[in-house]
């Protein structure tokens, strides 16, 4: 069965931008994990995950954000999340991700957030 999911990588003002599209579930999360890992290993620790075309996320997808955030912040970087549709945002929100991650409306806001707070202020 089709589980369409894709990741488009780009760079904006020195930030690594990962644009997610489709369905991020237990089947597709390993692809996302590999991508975040590869960016981290390449030293690209300032990452924006752009989700305006992400239709769905389950806990397997959320687990990827959780498993890298400490290492990335320890290396002076961060993951900022933007463009979440309401159905997707409710999943982040109910688990308390809003307190743990900078979640902003769109890519320009994510870029601005990196300028204001390279690592999330707690």
């Amino acid at each position: 069965m089709a589980n369409p999911f894709s990741i488009h990588k780009s760079t904006e003002q020195g930030l690594s931008v990962l644009s997610l599209e489709g369905y991020l579930d237990a089947h597709t999360a390993p692809e996302f994990e590999k991508t975040v890992q590869a960016e981290f290993e390449a030293g690209r620790v300032q990452q924006v995950v752009e989700c305006s075309r992400l239709s769905y996320i389950s806990s397997a997808g959320l687990g990827v954000f959780m498993s890298f955030i400490e290492e990335i912040r320890a290396a002076g970087g961060d993951i900022k999340i933007c463009g979440l549709a309401p159905k997707v945002f409710q999943v982040f929100d109910i688990l308390g991700f809003s307190a743990l991650f900078d979640i902003v409306p769109d890519l320009p806001a994510a870029i601005q957030r990196f300028q204001q707070a390279p690592v999330k202020e707690t």
Binding site: D25, A26, S58, E70, K87, I94, L95
Partner: protein, 144 residues
């Protein structure tokens, strides 16, 4: 006597079938008159339940089968997820805070947390190796 309808889906235990399961559950939710956000919650809760079975109860053995049964009446949608895998003790799943999970580099338990948050009732009946059953209920709050 209120009406009741039952729908069933049986799929091989492979995460590539999660999208088929979500489509099945989405159709049930829409037919029962749920709003978009509630349909999304139902889809996610069932996806989490089935992903747990596939990855943990069956240890990613795709020769096994996961069964999903939906019982719809005018007041609720009840979902049963049935497997014959190794089961687990739901009470033993630690409910750590998100920050603690991050520090411990663990992501386990998030799926169950989502099920409990998004469904009105969640019950387990475990007979490991025989029949493990997860029942979840979503009440329909229809406005007249």
């Amino acid at each position: 006597m209120a009406w009741e309808r039952t729908f069933s889906l049986h799929v091989p235990s492979s995460t590539e079938n999660l999208s088929m399961i979500r489509d099945f559950v989405k159709s049930i939710g829409l037919q029962s008159g749920m709003g978009d956000m509630d349909v999304a919650r139902l889809e996610l809760a069932v996806d989490e339940a089935c992903a747990n079975v596939m990855e943990h109860a069956y240890d990613a053995d795709d020769t096994k089968e996961v069964s999903i049964r939906a019982i719809v009446d005018d007041a609720s949608v009840q979902i049963e997820v049935i497997d014959s895998g190794k089961g687990f003790d739901p009470a033993a799943v630690e409910q750590l805070k998100l920050e603690e999970l991050v520090s411990a580099k663990r992501t386990g338990g998030l799926g169950m947390r989502l099920m409990k948050s998004f469904m009105d009732e969640v019950h387990y009946e475990m007979k490991p190796g025989v029949k493990n059953e997860l029942k979840m209920v979503k009440w329909l709050h229809k406005t007249p």
